[in-house]
């Protein structure tokens, strides 16, 4: 029936859509729950994973272009370059994210804070995210910054590989990052270099492992109740 798909040299739109879908960056294992048990209830191991954000081309819209321009100008004045210090600019759902290589993080943050036209005086903490399949940049640290004087927000994102989970500390620039970095170290194992005392903050001091990483085992044992067995959380059926 393949001959029906090509009529007078033009590819069939349905087939083209299928090609497009197959060429997307997704990882699929199994179909409709037949991966393990043949369970057709809709539960199963169908996983669709995509990179979190794609780069956005200019113009970014809103105040984002101005922030990028001012940052580029500031970086050039201090002998750097925007292309080096910001590898990706993503505008998504009305929010601006600057992906910064870790070696440029402190310089970019300092500029964002000190440049009067940028004026991001306040850092609202650090949020770690673990992407185990994103080889070479498994651990991310996300810094939401706030400018009270211009009433603007911007987000910095840095990544580090699992094999070398080091990110420079921002405590010198934003002292509030002290506890937030300790929390991210505690939960994700990101080592913030230059932090005054990087110790555990939420978990007990002698705790092993970093519990909010995706590869952290949840533990648990099967529990029997009235003849039925409830498996530990990791072995339970689930969607996505």
């Amino acid at each position: 029936m393949t001959s029906d798909n090509v009529t007078d040299g033009q590819p069939d739109p349905a087939a083209a859509a299928g090609e497009h879908r197959l060429s997307q960056e997704v990882e699929r294992t199994g179909m409709f729950g037949t991966g393990t048990t043949g369970d057709t209830s809709g539960y199963g191991g169908l996983r669709v994973r995509r990179p979190d954000q794609a780069a956005t081309p200019r113009p970014y819209g809103s105040y984002f272009d101005e922030v990028a321009d001012e940052l580029a100008a500031g970086l050039e004045r201090s002998g750097g370059s925007f292309a080096e210090a910001v590898t990706q600019v993503a505008v998504d759902r009305g929010e601006l994210t600057l992906h910064v290589p870790r070696e440029h993080l402190v310089a970019v943050a300092r500029l964002l804070r000190d440049e009067p036209s940028l004026g991001f005086e306040m850092c609202l903490g650090v949020s770690g995210v673990h992407y185990p399949w994103d080889t070479g940049r498994e651990l991310h640290a996300v810094y939401p910054l706030l400018s009270i004087i211009h009433n603007r927000r911007v987000r910095l994102e840095v990544s580090a590989p699992d094999s070398d989970p080091r990110v420079p500390s921002l405590v010198q620039v934003y002292p509030t990052c002290d506890w937030h970095e300790r929390e991210t170290w505690d939960f994700f194992g990101v080592i913030f270099e230059g932090h005054p005392a990087l110790t555990r903050i939420e978990m007990p001091d002698d705790w092993k492992g970093h519990p909010q990483r995706k590869d952290y085992p949840l533990g648990g044992i099967p529990v029997e109740y009235r003849g039925a067995t409830i498996p530990p959380p990791e072995d339970r059926r689930s969607y996505s």
Binding site: R93, L124, I148, T176, P233, Y239
Partner: protein
């Protein structure tokens, strides 16, 4: 008991003061390391402070947290987006509705349905948040009074808080941990009698706030304990990431409800109270004034809710792929599915049953991406950083809890001051350990 490295260690359990004093006189050393907490009535839950004292002066203060860590962020990764509400509402247990609102706003932004939230649901959200601000500030002021010795204030404040909790019970079915605000709207509309209850509350509350003010505003003992105590200026607040009443006590009118409005706050008339004293007393005054402003907003919400309703005025998003299909009602045994809804799915519509089943068990899928939304909670900016990988469960949710950030400033506020002022400083920050440790 003696240990070589740490010096002499005394375990004080009460009733043995004579022995302790005798032993301490013997050593004749001024420097004393005192472990305050984690179980101490004036530390607002399980907060531990390690104080280094030189006589009565605090030379070093180190807060130790983590005693109430329950892994809420991790737990949410194993539940659907809607079920996440029941977890995050338990973080900062004095302002559960703000936790829900911050989370739901971020889920709605991820879904891209911010503009489709029905107006009535938005008004109900504002109403509940402002009621919650009053109940939270009442607790803050009540414990503030108690901790510096004014028991009456606690009793008065808790009496007022009780009124708000009764309203919560009437509207959402629960006094705390409501899970009332859901992605897409709120769980249910106002029940019968709620508007009357709200009007009655608006009628009786202002004089009772005045009563509290009469007790504290010019009370010489209160003034002596709070004025020029726990000083933190604007530069300190900015660099330490301190927000909320503590920041506004430095004279900066920064309130997200005004500066970056959400839930339609730009359409309400209210003021942002500020003080310029940078001290514990200023923070107290701001909390009192904020309660009065909240009453103004609540009264505007009641007017809007009481206005003649359009024929179809839902409290949950119309998109049936997102809106939790269960129609809830407060029954004799608490909140549950309404009898009408059960009759509909079990007796009338096979499709409704399928829809109900799919949404309740599987949940909805949320497009890939990350967002950060902030709301002005009673303690400052409560932020929610939500990341989706396209699935039916959050990939990562992180809450920027204001108590967590504000508590860091405690050392800056208290070091160099008297040990008695530590209590006033903690009370003026009003940290909630459930939110700090999550």
């Amino acid at each position: 008991m003696t240990a070589e490295a740490e010096g002499r260690v005394y375990t004080v359990g009460g009733q043995d003061w004579d022995e302790v004093i005798a032993a301490a006189t013997e050593v004749a050393e001024e420097r004393l390391v005192v472990n305050m907490g984690p179980q101490h009535p004036s530390t607002h839950g399980v907060l531990r402070l390690i104080l280094t004292l030189d006589g009565e002066t605090v030379t070093e203060l180190r807060p130790v947290i983590g005693y109430l860590h329950t892994g809420i962020e991790k737990n949410m990764e194993f539940r659907t987006w809607t079920q996440g509400v029941t977890f995050c509402t338990r973080m900062d247990y004095l302002s559960p509705l703000f936790n829900e609102a911050a989370y739901c706003l971020s889920v709605e932004r991820l879904l891209g349905v911010e503009r489709e939230i029905p107006p009535r649901a938005t008004v109900l959200r504002v109403l509940m948040m402002e009621l919650n601000r009053i109940s939270s500030h009442m607790m803050a002021i009540g414990t503030f009074g108690l901790e510096i010795g004014a028991t009456t204030v606690l009793l008065y404040a808790l009496r007022e808080r009780e009124k708000v909790l009764d309203l919560f019970e009437l509207i959402s079915g629960l006094r705390m941990n409501h899970a009332y605000i859901r992605p897409g709207g709120v769980s249910q509309d106002l029940p019968r009698g709620a508007l009357e209850g709200l009007r009655e509350f608006l009628r009786v509350e202002p004089p009772l706030i005045g009563e509290l003010r009469a007790l504290l505003d010019a009370n010489p003992i209160f003034l002596a304990r709070t004025k020029n105590v726990a000083y933190l200026d604007l530069a300190g607040c900015m660099s330490l990431g301190v927000t909320g009443p503590v920041l506004r006590a430095t004279g900066l009118p920064w309130d997200l409800r005004k500066s970056q409005p959400y839930c339609g706050y730009e359409t309400y008339e209210f003021d942002v109270p500020t003080e310029t004293t940078c001290d514990a007393y200023g923070r107290y005054l701001i909390r009192m004034a904020e309660m009065e402003e909240s009453l103004k907003i609540i009264s505007q919400c009641v007017d809007r809710l009481a206005a003649k309703r359009p024929k179809d005025d839902p409290v949950m998003i119309r998109d049936a792929k997102i809106g939790w299909p269960a129609q809830l009602a407060v029954g004799p045994d608490g909140l549950g599915n309404s009898a009408d809804h059960i009759a509909h799915i079990m007796g009338q519509s096979m499709e409704a049953l399928i829809h109900h089943f799919k949404l309740v068990t599987e949940g909805f899928r949320v497009p890939v991406g990350q967002v950060y939304t902030g709301v002005e909670s009673p303690r400052g900016e409560l932020g929610c950083h939500a990341v989706s990988d396209g699935g039916t469960r959050p990939y990562r949710v992180h809450f920027r809890d204001p108590s967590f950030a504000n508590l860091q400033s405690l050392s800056a506020m208290t070091e160099g001051g008297m040990v008695a002022d530590v209590i006033a400083a903690v009370a003026s920050l009003d940290p909630v350990m459930g939110g700090v440790d999550r």
